[in-house]
Amino acid sequence: MSGHPSTYEPKYGATKWLDQRLPIVRMGADFMTFPSPRNLNYWYTFGGILALCLVSQIITGIILAMHYVPHIDFAFDSVQRIRRDVPFGWLLQPMHAVGASMFFFAVYVHMFRGLYYGSYKAPREVLWIIGCLIYLVMMATGFLGYTLPWGQMSFWGATVITGFFGAVPVVGESLQQWLLGGYAVDNATLNRFFALHYLLPFVIAALVAVHVWALHHVGQNNPIGITPKTQKDTLSFHPYYTVKDAFAVVVFLLIFAFFLFYQPDALGHADNYIQADALKTPPHIVPEWYFLPFYAILRAVPDKLAGILLMIGAIAVLFVLPWLDTSKVRSMRFRPVARGFFWIFLFFCFILGWCGAETPDNMVPFMSVGDKGLNFTWLSRIATIYYFAYFVVILPILGLVENPKDRPESITKAILGDTSHSAAAPAE
């Protein structure tokens, strides 16, 4: 899976024999010695963290599936039983539920990292697109999983989301009922959602393998976005980055542990501890926090189909980003103007998240007096406009008109300064 010349030499008879038949040890060895840019910072540790998250979700998920009952009459109680009666269920169920949030937190850091350092630009377009696909399947998995505990938010979230398909012209209603397996969200729906929730993480695992393959084919980007030119610009993945990743994982796990042991329900919604009731909608439906920005975009327009199209567009635009950004300079470090727009973009993503959590007609604190001023619908409209403008107006134009700063010649020069004139360059 790697694009660098192999340095693996099998030492023993058995490994030589195996290497000629299945070079699997070689693959692992090449993976560990993969030359990585020597200037990777901690934002580059989130890929490893994400791999850990996926493994953790799969292990805890399979364990939960041993005790969970996918039937509308038993699902809610079976999750409560896991939390109360199953040995260590109190630990394993929140590991999965909190784990999903941690997974999304990590994927967002990973994606914004890519946006900042221009990791989507040539030659990494395919790598980026596979990442976007992973994110899409993750969203589906998270949504399907959230219906399983069969609380009020599970049920009404599922109703609203499957309602999106009902907005498709002409065939919408049939499509929606086909997905549900009935006229409304019911047992047939819960059953198939469980089957698909079990399946999709393995699809993600397969996509991750292709993602890493693409990564090793084109090589890693880095904080200054300059392609490594000589061996001096790189370091072996092990031990340099295995150790760096491991340290980041420990810090990440500390945050994970805080939520797991002290605030296991802080990232969820209290209404999900009320069993699903098909006759009563909770007064205020909200998705999980990681979907809030998209929910705000959905509600920003007063039209059903337009809202959905805009929400789909918000994700679709990521897929074509490599061709929207016209700048050849990868890292924002050398694009002072673009950098400013990037931080505003990040700010508005948080604003969208906030809008998604609020009731649309409510007034925005500090920006309104009584019922005069800005309400959340308008705030989400402003943020939505910026969200799209960043991709389809700002990045395409900036690349043509901005004046990027001078870039260093190589990674080594950027770190150590120009060493070519000093007679005795320090030994590596």
Binding site: T159, Y183, A184, D186, A188, L279, T281, P282
Partner: protein
């Protein structure tokens, strides 16, 4: 096809037309087979026979007092049976429907009694918001009808959409009066 004959290793003449035919016929048979197999794989997700046969419910309207609303689960979704007050009926009938996003008169939303008349007191509809399917709350909203808390759709006392993101009026289920006071839904 080709003017010069091509001879294979066994000394036989290669007939390209025949090969093309076999190639296309094989491909077509495989594609048809795949489509036939895909059909049950896709169709199994549709409504099962027992779901379709979920049957009908009879509702005794005389049990619903004026100003009261009954909520009955039918096909997994709530059916509202509202006994409207004189004021609500007047409001429902007094609307200039050309202003409505989904124009329908109040009469069009009722079904005839055995005598062939309309009884405007009883409004029977599927209590599902036509936006994304939440259940609207009764006696609220800007039009004294229903208000959907999910994304703020306002329905009037005839269940018509008047304001907000929902595109359509709340649906009227298939139902008939089987006596003066009993209806059968489904």
């Amino acid at each position: 096809m080709s003017e010069t004959q091509v001879i294979d290793a066994h000394g036989e003449v290669i007939d390209d037309d025949k090969r093309d035919f076999i190639f296309i016929a094989t491909g077509a048979a495989a594609a048809a087979g795949a489509a036939l197999l895909a059909w049950p794989l896709v169709a199994q997700m549709g409504k099962a026979a027992d779901t379709l046969a979920a049957g009908s419910v009879e509702i005794d309207l005389s049990k619903v007092a004026e100003g009261q609303q009954l909520k009955i689960l039918w096909r997994g979704a709530p059916v509202f049976v509202r006994h409207r007050t004189a004021k609500e009926i007047a409001e429902a009938e007094g609307v200039d429907i050309s202003d409505c996003p989904d124009p329908q008169t109040d009469d069009e939303r009722l079904r005839p009694t055995p005598e062939g008349k309309l009884d405007p007191r009883f409004l029977v509809m599927i209590g599902v918001c036509t936006h994304f399917g939440c259940i609207p709350v009764g006696e609220s909203g800007d039009f004294d009808g229903w208000y959907c808390p999910c994304h703020g759709s306002h329905y009037d006392t005839s269940g018509r959409i008047r304001k907000g993101p929902a595109p359509k009026n709340m649906a009227i289920p298939d139902y008939v009066y089987i006596s003066d006071t009993v209806i059968k839904v489904g």
